[in-house]
Symmetry: C2
């Protein structure tokens, strides 16, 4: 490992204007929950939030959202009765550091109160990766005055999601010095129980009290303050929800854990050991580029803390568990952007995420049936129940009192093929035959069934079409024969037939095959129809090998990005929602996305032709955050390493530098996963084939070394490249 | 005055299923704020709310709403550490009484704790009408056990509007035993400061504490409990907002008031005296019908507590200050349904409400201009700023995930004429020339200007039309030439010319007239155009004197209410929103409403013809709550007293008996005002004419006596009728 600096996300000043962005950056978590980097003592305008996986609740317009869970952070310090807060008094020094190796967030502040009492306070917090129900907060205070230090440590169930309340108080109380708090979500009735214990490690106690205020139970401790004598105070929390245990057991479980929780040192060591294992699988070493080195680790960290470890009924939202953006809903972002990281470095986590889709097949059946189709049509946005939860309306970006109709929930159908693609990809890399037979095959066959049903025969074209859809480039809606959609549908059907053949060939899959044939009604007529759809799907190429993104795209007014410079907004903001529909400028790679996913089916010549056409028409700077990493990979393929690096670093910086100005809404998870793909599939050129794997390095010039590990068919492999 | 019983709204059992309805019924207030009848100690599912006039804040979809202000009620009692709450232990006896004479709400509970500690608790509260910034709560506890009684009395700034938060905590603390709490609305930045003081009147104090938990500052007191020795505890609150005083003075004002507040007895006496004056003006005595007697007083009480006393920049919302329905917005309900009560019994309050419209003329100009018209077009829904705040969408009643387009904000234009009508009505009854000259004339002239601009010339009909509107019957939208709208527009223009003539004739109005002519550009050409519109407005009567509600109404499918029996839902619920548009069944009187308002312009013959046609087609039972009182008045006119009584009592009971099942959303204020009109203009037949006033009594058979007072041109008059 290289030096510390490349593991530490740091800030040295406190800037209130950057408050919410930094809360996202300093998010910590353990795959069970994540907590934004809000200040313990609160700050005006902060967006404090803890999101627990799967704890969704109904909400108007957006249908459902991850409920901002009761807050475990509250801790206020009073220096001789003066409340410490960064919006009063004087900040003499300030430093905040997130150690990506262990997920410990540390803040060090020297603060002078309005009445001139000075103290240095060090706050440390982590959510244990070793025991995901336990959370730890430590505060070390060195006063420079005589008198008292009062510490108030509480829980708070009155949290809101950008103004919307999701919790109903149920009960609270104190037993043997530990405090519990129970609350339930209003509509989904998920219960949560927290237990809180405090521990004075250093300091003479003058007084202890329990403030039994509903929703905000608080333990207060007054310590004697002596100049330059450090006081150490710890706050331990345990959390359970009724998703973990029967609801009559969660309070007991939390309270039982509270007095038996290990000491800070023990807990910290167990957590650090757990993290060491994560990094042994996932770390990427880049020498010669400190920014890229820290950025990739930061992106990996944010994905690792959001990936469910012990729960395969939840998924990673587009903004992980780090912000209110997209309401905790998950998209194709998981399968196409994040999953490759897990497939290659943590297959057990990839399996959890794919199982989420498997468990939600009933929702996909409901959606298909509602629309008059057979098979599994996965929802564009999915949350707790597997049904479509794309909000039909959102407030207009320019005038929030107006609503804009949102179409992807109805017509952005490619996600079903993306999920099948990911299931196959998982199996191809891991060789997890058991999962393929038990679950993957059904995912692939059931989505294929949908695609065959959704295909429309055109007598005129003598082809099967997919009309009225949205492709990856969402600037163009209600289009016909989006090439990405059509080709991914075809691939889904092809893979299905391939999987059927594979199951037929395996003795150990016989029973499952029989069951699937019956359950999915895989008659020979149906399979014949699949073959016909595969053969006759509408997929035109021009003479020059150029692929038309959708029917009629080439007839749209041609707009290249360079013609719009200087520009500081998206195409939709420049041209309006309707206007952006009528030009060739696109929000993110669409044809190129397809060529990336099915790279081995297309010649270099085709890729180059399309790369050269679409790149100048793609809004990488203000379009989708999903774009840059894919552009980077294709640019690598084309040998255009400088462009590749520019796009890679744009993706890598998305959150750390708040490139798009919306990092306050949460981590750009797809961009984070894409950053890893750009390194591994782009710069290292990793390819897994039938016969093993290869790399085709094309490192940026200033990179001295690139090293990472991955699993291939159960074996951990190591790649270590230098110029 | 008759006996107590007819002043007391009472319940003798606690029914959790009726919780939110009873919170509305037991709303108390003082014209500055109102507080729903929630339990001090809270109850699961309660909708605790205090609404302070004018304290609006932005909200998604509904644009703006009255923010549920910080709660002054919290008071929990612990019997030997067991928390008193009605959802645990045993309720041995229960009684709740609202004394309409004084606005004091009293609850008496004998409660047995799970561990068998018994106490009788009496809670009393009132919001002083003598000093509207002061609120009082008293608790008398008679324990039947030895030990301790702990009382926790707090404030709570974390209130929400049906899940939506509007408040940001600013500061709190304790000085000299009094506690303050400051909070501000999130978007409108209105600040509020509360001060809290507690007072142990009877009981030996063991311990006092201040729990300084953010948002919920709480004073706790532990008293010695001795069997059958009554303990008395008082909680005094003072409230100011930045609408009352400069924002840097409100905390000081609240804290200064707290320690100087009078004793319970003094405050109670001052409040009772203030109420005695209200009732001397407004009471209605009905002998022979206890239900009607109590109901009219209840309805009057609810309007009196919502009417602003010292603020003419606020109005009374459709649900007063008693619930979340209609977001605190005001409608024509004020001018047409509530205002007559105030014009006749409390002209100073009527003037405040009309001044609200006068002050909001700039908003009415903005609305007219946005739509391409001159003059003043008042918003269908209005809140703090005078701009249109009708939500363009609301959740569908059958499927709240779907949105329904709401049109009145765009096309229910009759409100501008309703306001002009009310301004003229006020002057006609009060003779308040000064107000007419200074303000009323401008309201009437400026709305007339709008109506002239909005009229469309039809070459075919050789008439002026008002097309694409909604009349009072909102089941039919986008209609042309709604008779109500056209006739009220004509009346607005006629009144304008009449007022101009009146100003011209008065020496003391000369200056104001000159100013108005210039300000409103009242050129002779313009006035000529007004005369032409008045003359040629499209107002057809059939040969039989039947008035068509709007063009094409008679061609709709004829549906009478009796054909749908038995029925338990509205026409929109039976036929769907589109379906209800296509039938003759209507939601509330429309033609009859017009005939009521302009009664002296129409012959008995015309009224009878239309009464007989429209009555069977009007959904009085599940349609608008605005309907029954108007039906009652017209029925009186037609000598149909039994029907009149049925409709009157339906209106009178609307909230007390929760006739429509939605009283939990707040008081039906228009129905309350209509109830008074049905008595005074219906059963008593009061008419104010050029020469004085007359009554035409037609009392229900079982009424032995009907007596009330009203002001006519500054003189208080008395009506006392018997069979």
């Amino acid at each position: 490992m290289n030096n510390d600096r490349n593991w530490l996300v740091r800030e040295n000043t406190f800037d209130p204007a950057d408050l919410n962005h930094k809360e996202t950056i300093f998010t910590i978590g353990n795959g069970y929950l994540c907590t934004r980097g809000a200040l313990e003592e609160t700050y005006p305008g902060n967006q404090r939030a803890t999101f627990i996986h799967g704890v969704f609740d109904a909400a108007p317009i957006i249908l459902t959202e991850l409920a901002n869970a009761p807050d475990w952070l509250p801790l206020t310090i009073h220096l001789n009765d003066e409340r410490f807060a960064l919006d009063r008094g004087t900040i003499e020094s300030f430093e905040r550091v997130l150690d990506l190796r262990t997920g410990v967030l540390t803040r060090r502040v020297r603060w002078r109160s309005p009445s001139d009492y000075v103290a240095t306070m060090i706050f440390e917090r982590f959510t244990s990766l070793a025991d995901e129900h336990t959370l730890f907060l430590r505060c070390r205070v060195t006063p420079e005055f005589d008198g008292t230090l009062e510490i108030r440590a509480g829980l708070d169930a009155r949290m809101d999601n950008r103004g919307m309340i999701h919790w109903r108080w149920m009960d609270q109380g104190e037993r043997d010095g530990a405090v519990y708090l129970r609350a339930a979500t209003l509509e989904s009735k998920i219960e949560t129980a927290y237990a809180l214990r405090i521990n004075v490690v250093e300091g003479a106690e003058i007084k202890r009290d329990f403030w039994d205020v509903e929703n905000s139970p608080t333990l207060t401790t007054t310590l004697r303050a002596v100049p330059n004598e450090e006081l150490i105070f710890e706050k331990y929390i345990s959390v359970f929800t009724s998703r973990d245990l029967p609801r009559d057991q969660i309070e007991f479980a939390a309270m039982q854990r509270a007095p038996t929780m290990p000491s800070w040192e023990q807990a910290h060591e167990a957590n650090a050991n757990a993290w060491a294992q994560e990094w042994a699988r996932s770390d990427v070493v880049i020498e010669g580029d400190d920014e890229a080195q820290l950025a990739i680790r930061f992106n990996l960290f944010q994905l690792l803390i959001a990936a469910p470890r012990h729960d395969d009924r939840v998924n990673i939202g587009a903004k992980t568990l780090s912000g209110f953006g997209y309401n905790g809903h998950c998209f194709w972002d998981t399968e196409i952007f994040m999953l490759p990281l897990f497939i290659y470095t943590a297959p057990h986590l990839a399996k959890n995420l794919l199982n989420y889709r498997f468990h939600n097949l009933p929702g996909a059946h409901r959606k298909a049936q509602t629309n008059g189709y057979e098979g599994a049509q996965f929802p564009w946005e999915s949350a707790g129940g597997g049904d479509e939860v794309t909000p039909p309306f959102v407030p207009h970006f320019a005038d929030p009192t107006k609503l804009v109709r949102i179409w992807p929930g109805e017509i952005e159908i490619h996600i079903s093929a993306d999920i099948a693609y990911a299931a196959y990809h998982y199996w191809r890399v891991t060789g997890d035959d058991e999962w393929l037979i038990e679950r993957g095959a059904e995912l692939i066959l059931d989505t294929a069934k949908f695609w065959a049903a959704r295909a429309e025969w055109s007598a005129e074209k003598q082809s099967y079409e997919y009309n009225n859809v949205i492709g990856p480039d969402e600037n163009h809606d209600h289009v016909n024969n989006n090439f990405y959609t059509n080709r991914m549908a075809q691939s889904n059907l092809q893979t299905a037939l391939q999987i059927l053949a594979l199951l037929e060939a395996r003795e150990d899959a016989r029973a499952q095959l029989t069951e699937l044939i019956q359950k999915l009604d895989l008659s020979s007529e149906r399979l014949e129809h699949w073959r016909e759809v595969i053969e006759k799907i509408y997929l035109p190429l021009t003479d020059t090998k150029l692929i038309e993104q959708f029917e009629g795209y080439f007839k749209l007014r041609d707009v290249k990005m360079v013609e719009l410079e200087p520009r500081d907004k998206s195409l939709q903001q420049v041209f309006g929602i309707e206007g952006a529909n009528e030009i060739q400028g696109i929000k993110q790679p669409d044809v190129l996305m397809l060529l990336y996913l099915l790279r081995d089916r297309y010649s270099d010549e085709i890729v180059r032709e399309n790369y050269e056409y679409y790149t100048p028409r793609t809004d990488v700077s203000f379009g989708s955050s999903l774009g840059p990493s894919i552009q980077a990979i294709i640019a690598c393929e084309m040998g255009d390493i400088e462009t590749a690096y520019d796009e890679f670093i744009r993706a890598a910086r998305a959150d750390l530098r708040d490139v798009r100005g919306n990092a306050n809404d949460g981590i750009h998870a797809a961009s984070a996963g894409g950053t890893w793909q750009a390194i591994v599939f782009g710069f290292a050129g990793l390819r897994v084939t039938e016969n093993g794997w290869t790399v085709h390095p094309r490192l940026p010039k200033h990179w001295r070394r690139l090293a990472f590990r991955f699993f291939h068919r159960g074996e951990q492999e190591q790649v270590d490249l230098s110029q």
